[in-house]
Amino acid sequence: MSLLQVKDLNKSYQTDTKVLKNINFSAGTGEFLSVIGPSGAGKSTLLRCINRLVQADKGEILFGGQDLLKLRKKELRAARTNIGMIFQHYNLVPRLTVIENVLHGRFGYKSTLQGVLGRFSEEEKERAFYLLEKLGIEAHAYKRCDQLSGGQQQRVGICRALIQNPKLILCDEPIASLDPHSSKVIMDHLKSISEEMGITCIVNLHQVEVAQSYSDRIIGLNNGSIVFDGSNFQLDQLYIKRVYGMETRELITV
């Protein structure tokens, strides 16, 4: 059974131009799914529609048996705890420590008062340290986030998503601001998250090679429509041309 099912999703920011047109796809448990496509194709919009950071116009997003688009405020908060998100620019609170930023991932489980007072249980803190250790940054736990390198900050972002105990992680260009080595570290971590923890990952990527070597499945988006949906070896020159409008050798590849 698939964990996430997107049906006939439509979205436009201004009334005349459609950013997403009748998007249909599904993702299974533990699947590693990449979304590729040229700039402005609507990749970020697609991810943001799933956890409703932007409001879709039409369609259904079935996640764990409920339609996310129909949820009210409180139910939405509860549903969001099951969906982690990782951002290109990490989006940590720079003046707070690493451990504090990781614990922010628990707010979805807390009442207003508990959260505002910053009450976290010992288990939660232990779990945070366990995750930091797993990603190899426990030495920085008490540093302020603005003192960390980009790759380290992204790992904090991953910890913040993982401490939510999510079933699904959305990654919007997680390696676009990183050097090749840090990129590999991050992608390896994401891959092991999906394989070992059985968490579904949907990753927006700009590098076709990276998408091909890590993904179970690739979705190609062009101008708001899905033009490719299949496994990485099915993505041949013809489809790449359809997605990007040109051949691989014309693209700058890593």
Partner: protein, 277 residues
Amino acid sequence: MDSVYLKRDKAGRINIKAGNRVNSVINWTVLSLTLLTVTAFLFFDYTGLEIGRAIMETAVNLRTMFLQPSLNHFSWGEALFQVGVTISLAVIATILGAVIAFFLALWSAVNLANKWVSKSIKIFVAFIRAVPTVLWVLIFAIAAGLGSEAAILGMLFHSIAYLVKAFSEAFEEVDKGMLEALRSTGSGWWHTIVHAVLPSTSTYLLSWTFLRFEINFSVAVAMGAAAGAGGIGFELFMASGFYFDLREVGFITYAILLVAIVLEVASTHLKKRYFSS
């Protein structure tokens, strides 16, 4: 041939300023104000005024005021107490104002609050700000009577308006991605405020509050005189307008100056200590 967008002035030189109109309006304003000032001097009533003697006497007065300051109508202890009263007026108005302004600013920052709520608060607050503090004090004096209550209410009112603008602008500068990240984890609104917005803006909030406190101190001095709010301002008013005691005026001026300097030093010190990073 010049491009269509290129503009030259009458002498044929290329303009580098955008609007000629704005410049000429400014020039005309300055010119007419100068003319008005000069003509005003011509129409003053100068009977019985001898410029030489007037300057001499002013100099003598200033000398008595600032070189021989002394206290005649009240003691050192009392002076200190009165300065304390003025500072307390400023402290109350500033702290209450900052707390209230903090909440109003949250509702009026466009990235945190409903668009319409934010707009209404901003318009309301702009209206309050447009009226000077002194006027607010006099308006509140209708209900509360002249005195410290009216002074505090008026100062509070204007402080709130001032700080709401400053605070909400600080909140609006908060990185949008940070708020999105917290929302995506399922955090509630208050969680985001306390754990992302506050840590990112606290230094700005504190330095704006301190700046407002300095303003409120000088306003409190003026209010002591104008609205009978008590404190050192009232003593200054009595010394100058009632007893014509130049030495005491000098003393009080020095006292106010001293407090202002202490405040300035304290605020710079605090900023260095806590806001450095």
